[in-house]
């Protein structure tokens, strides 16, 4: 396997690739509730989940733990695995959106709250429904832009 895909300097952790997708569907539901009820508390809870996912890894979030204990045993034994870093990065992006939304809520701007939650919801929904990875699509563009 090519060295490009296996850069040695980072200790590689692989997770069941179906886990983040399951987590994305729960996230979609939670963010939809936050958006409809305009609830900063629901958003704060989701923000906490994002934070755990970004810092420790998606497999340690409540959704990840539910997947591992309840869903995974019912699925096919052979699991497609993936590097934990892109889902971790996606959780970090989600956390940033949640943070902006919370700041909007605290500052009394429902517009900021709605837009931030709406965008996070769009990303989670695209991931859950289409296996679309926003981070993957944006990573190279970001790199090109940052190293101009």
């Amino acid at each position: 396997m090519s060295e490009i895909l296996n850069k040695p300097e980072v200790a590689k952790i692989y997770i069941d690739a179906r886990g983040p997708r399951f987590a994305a569907s729960i996230t979609t539901l939670v963010l939809a509730i936050a958006l409809v009820t305009q609830s900063a508390w629901v958003l704060a809870l989701q923000g906490l989940v994002f934070l755990i996912g970004a810092v420790r890894g998606p497999q340690f979030t409540p959704y990840g733990l539910i997947f591992k204990s309840l869903i995974k045993p019912r699925l096919k034994k052979e699991a497609p695995t993936e590097d934990v870093r892109p889902p971790k990065f996606a959780q970090a992006v989600g956390f940033l959106f949640a943070l902006v939304g919370l700041i909007g809520a605290i500052a009394g701007s429902s517009a900021v709250f709605t837009v931030a939650v709406g965008l996070a919801l769009a990303a989670a929904f695209l991931n859950a429904a289409f296996n679309f990875c926003l981070g993957c699509e944006m990573y190279l563009l970001g790199l090109r832009f940052a190293t101009k």
Partner: protein, 137 residues
């Protein structure tokens, strides 16, 4: 007070975008070539295939890149005049900019002279790759 409008807007727009994106994933497009641009052995660091070459741009953590690499490298084993060259996008940013590559994996299909005849963003399907390769003379 419940407001369903933002949710409805997000779901409709995201679904439309998702469907559009899904259709284009892996499809081989021939309208993105940079006019006059050629990929040479010097630039790629390897000799080109005698009829065609598939130049795959990947980045370090990219699950679809692994799948694409597995597919293409296995396919060229049975097609002797086609080569598969693997490029790390991050360490070839200048080339990435010249070719206007936006995401990984992106596979550029070039003929024996290094001219691009098509490219695929995402993991292409075996039949699509075969069809594209057959069209290169």
């Amino acid at each position: 007070m419940k407001n369903y409008l933002p949710l409805a807007i997000v779901l409709v727009l995201a679904t439309a975008y998702g469907l559009w994106w899904k259709r284009g994933e892996g499809a081989i497009r021939s309208n993105k070539a940079i006019p006059g641009h050629r990929l040479s052995e010097q630039v790629l660091g390897e000799a080109l295939g005698s009829r065609a070459t598939m130049v795959q741009f990947s980045s370090a953590f990219c699950a679809p890149c692994r799948a694409t690499h597995a597919l293409l490298s296995q396919m060229v084993e049975t097609i002797p005049d086609v080569k598969h060259i693997h490029i790390d996008a991050e360490s070839h940013l200048e080339l990435v900019r010249q070719l206007d590559i936006r995401s990984t994996p992106t596979t550029i299909f070039i003929n024996k002279d290094g001219i691009e005849v098509g490219r695929a963003a995402g993991t292409p399907k075996r039949e699509q790759v075969l069809k594209a390769l057959e069209a290169i003379h």
